[in-house]
């Protein structure tokens, strides 16, 4: 059994009071809608509309480009203006479908029809989730339909709803729990119907007692669903930490949760599954928090996918004063943004704006070997020694110190009294090693092909 927490971790200022009591407000975007073709992990989607087409809410704009991929669904009604290269929140340039919003929000036939999931087969449910374009809404964007179809369905004995929301400042999952708990539980019931041996656990950090008591009351009569209160500590919502806290099982970088008999999905993903399966509403929106000390009216918003970030910020009253830093996501793992003229995608996260950037205010000094990073690391790594390997770009030493197990949670850099950019160095090093591995694999493949060719020729000669 689990221990409701994990080793290591940190307790940053949580800043949730800024937005946690603000009900979710619906945003109706005015500007152009932009749908990048890659809003998920896996192959980019392939467009199925062309310039000039009239499209409706719920209509498929692009289909999945492979098994690990997800279709893209239109969130407004209007006209396709073209497929152009646009910048995403992460800063990359990507082919995107541009739709001019006619403000009618006319939906495709059947959109919003109630359905009873108990009458659907397992394959039908997985297919609905796939066609609805649902991906993990916690930020990684892994296609949910793939998660719902592991090799051995019977081996899955835990389905965890990740509602820890351990990132400071973010409150969108909390609002989901307060405003639509029945959808989270409904979504969980849907997925539990796929896994005959699994029990459902809704995992919430104990700094959200109202959400815990609300959901606990609602699942009292459910045999296979339980609400778990976890110790408040970052990164409690990290996949490996959550699995360990609940089940006591440990997974590493070369395993999937399913290898340990566990599937983890975010709370908002549960809502999306419920809406897709029981209400015939594919994934066209995201719940996100706009917060931080630079935001005039911090709050939580239901935003159609494709909406421009500037419009979302405007809905929160704009900035009090120009911020020094804008982050897409939480303060521990979010990505800094250099412009707001980017579209909201499935895998983007909340918007956080700080008046002052605490990172650039504190230059890095020498490591004093204090070991705070070692105690904080939830993966039991030695960040100070990894940093030495990273600075020398010594890949062998970095791997020998288990550097590839780093989950980039940011705890080491957070606690460092010398303000060293540890997490940054590890992210770079991991990508460097992954690239080297890919290159050597490609080279090996080429060599093998050459050999095979040579053999084939020899056979011909003889």
């Amino acid at each position: 059994m689990g221990v409701s927490t994990f080793q290591g971790g940190v307790h940053p200022y949580d800043g949730k009071e800024l937005a946690m009591n603000q009900p979710i407000v619906e945003i109706k975007p005015q500007g152009l809608m932009v749908y990048p073709l890659s809003q998920h992990i896996g192959a980019p989607a392939k467009p199925v509309v062309s310039k000039g087409d009239r499209v409706l809410v719920g209509q498929k704009l692009a289909e999945a480009g492979g098994f690990v991929s997800a279709p893209i669904i239109c969130s407004v009604s209007g006209t396709v203006k073209g497929i152009e290269k646009r910048m995403t929140a992460g800063g990359s340039i990507m082919d995107s479908i541009i739709v001019e919003n006619d403000q009618q929000y006319e939906a495709i036939p059947g959109f919003g029809t109630k359905r009873d999931f108990k009458k659907l087969s397992r394959e039908e449910i997985v297919n609905i989730v796939k066609e609805a374009g649902i991906v993990g809404l916690g930020g990684a964007g892994f296609p949910t339909s793939v998660k719902l179809a592991p090799k051995d369905i019977g081996r899955i004995d835990y389905f965890l709803v990740n509602a820890a929301e351990c990132e400071p400042y973010l409150t969108s999952d909390y609002r989901d729990m307060m405003e639509m708990p029945e959808k989270i539980i409904g979504g969980l019931k849907v997925v539990l119907s796929i896994f005959p041996n699994a029990v459902g656990k809704i995992c919430i950090e104990d700094n959200k007692p109202e959400a815990i008591s609300k959901l606990t009351g609602m699942v009292e009569k459910e045999e296979k669903i339980e609400v778990l209160s976890l110790k408040t500590k970052y990164p409690q919502g990290g996949e490996r930490q959550l699995i360990y806290a609940v089940t006591g099982r440990k997974i590493n970088s070369s395993m999937l949760p399913a290898d340990a008999g566990v599937i983890v999905d975010n709370a908002d993903t549960m809502v999306a599954i419920y809406e897709a399966v029981c209400e015939t509403k594919p994934l066209v929106r995201k719940i996100l928090t706009v917060t931080g000390d630079a935001v005039a009216k911090p709050g939580n918003f239901r935003v159609p996918l494709g909406t421009n970030y500037q419009e979302i910020v405007d809905a929160a009253g704009g900035f009090k004063q120009p911020p020094e830093k804008i982050i897409s996501g939480g303060p521990m793992m979010g990505i800094p943004m250099f412009r707001l003229d980017v579209p909201l995608a499935k895998n983007s996260s909340s918007i956080l704006a700080f008046l002052k950037d605490p990172v650039s205010a504190q230059p890095a000094t020498a490591c004093i070997n204090c070991g705070r990073c070692v105690s904080a690391c939830p993966e039991k790594l030695l960040p100070t020694m990894l940093m030495k390997a990273a600075m020398k770009k010594d890949m062998a030493a970095y791997e020998a110190l288990y550097g590839m197990e780093c989950i980039e949670c940011g705890c080491c850099a957070y606690v460092c009294p010398a303000k060293r950019p540890l997490t940054q160095a590890f992210k770079e090093m991991k990508r460097r090693i992954s690239a080297a591995r890919r290159a050597s694999q490609a080279a090996a493949k080429k060599n093998q092909e050459k050999k095979d060719e040579g053999k084939a020729k020899e056979v011909k000669k003889s």
Binding site: N252, P322, K325, N369, K380
Partner: protein
């Protein structure tokens, strides 16, 4: 939005703790024992503390200025080194000796190896050992409490010289014994240690294992049978408490791995016991710590923990 936004990798928030705060806490923790030393031995002790600390900071400033390095004296680390060295000197020592030691500690042991975080030996203890070898007489002439200018043997030396001798434990604990300026008052030292533990600057792990190892070693090889009073006197005598809490816990020169810290503390205890009971001098803490410092890189390498989820794997 016309101004440029800041960009940096995650995390975007940082804990408030800084290196200089940690070092300042170590200074604060040494104040009780320093004040006790000055009250007991008078003006010369105060001058030793003052000038050695200033000399250490000055040495760092001069070196960094000459080598055109960024000046880092505001991080308090040089002051900590100077202070520890001063507290490790006899109260009536001529001031130029610890001042010379401070320059040696900062320039030879710390800066020549790359400055803060790169020295492989505790600078203050390295300098103390340098002074012990260079000025053996002056460094081991301890003043008797209450008798001005009369030097006497430390309780540790008495216990060693005569197997039948006993010491006064309460005097040892309170500090009414000859010794260096900062090592005698165990009460004041433990106050400082508690402050450091409460502020999470140090963990009690290394000091406790170190002291426990010395206790067991003394009990086994002290030659006095099962004499717990004698063991308690040995623990309270000399620089063990000061060394365990303030020098063995030095971040830079102690292991980073959880198991390595245990190994380090046990080695410290064994060496201290060995030097004290079987060595030429009565005291062994300083040499035990600097010798163990040299082993730290090897201890680290041999005790790398397995990552989360990789515990069952073979290396």
């Amino acid at each position: 939005m016309n101004q440029l936004l800041h960009l940096s990798a995650n995390p975007h928030v940082r804990d408030n703790i800084t290196t200089s705060e940690i070092m300042r806490d170590v200074m604060i923790a040494m104040i009780p024992t320093a004040v006790y030393g000055v009250m007991q031995w008078g003006a010369n002790a105060a001058f030793v503390i003052l000038f050695t600390t200033i000399a250490a900071v000055l040495a760092e400033f001069i070196y960094q200025r000459c080598m055109k390095l960024p000046i880092t004296i505001t991080d308090w680390s040089a002051a900590v080194t100077g202070m520890i060295l001063a507290l490790n000197c006899p109260p009536d020592i001529p001031i130029w000796i610890p001042v010379l030691g401070a320059f040696f500690a900062i320039i030879v042991i710390k800066q020549l190896y790359g400055g803060l975080g790169h020295n492989w030996m505790n600078p203050a203890l390295g300098a103390r050992c340098f002074l012990l070898i260079s000025f053996a007489g002056k460094m081991t002439s301890f003043t008797n409490v209450g008798a001005d200018g009369v030097s006497g043997a430390t309780p540790l030396a008495l216990l060693k010289a005569d197997p039948a001798a006993t010491a006064d434990l309460s005097a040892l604990f309170l500090g009414r014994v000859p010794g260096t300026i900062g090592e005698v008052s165990k009460l004041c030292l433990l106050f400082g240690a508690l402050y450091l533990i409460a502020r999470k600057v140090i963990s009690p792990k290394i000091p406790c294992i170190y002291i426990a190892t010395v206790a067991v070693f003394t009990l086994l090889f002290g030659g006095r049978g099962f004499d717990l009073y004698y063991v308690a006197c040995e623990l309270c005598a000399g620089g063990l408490i000061f060394g365990a809490f303030f020098m063995a816990t030095d971040y830079v020169t102690s292991p980073i791995t959880p198991n390595g810290q245990i190994v380090f503390a046990v080695i410290l205890g064994l060496l201290t016991g060995l030097f004290r009971l079987f060595g030429g001098s009565a005291e062994g803490v300083s040499y035990a710590i600097i010798l163990s410092n040299i082993l730290v890189p090897m201890i680290n390498r041999m005790t790398i923990p397995k990552a989360f989820g990789r515990e069952g794997e073979k290396k």
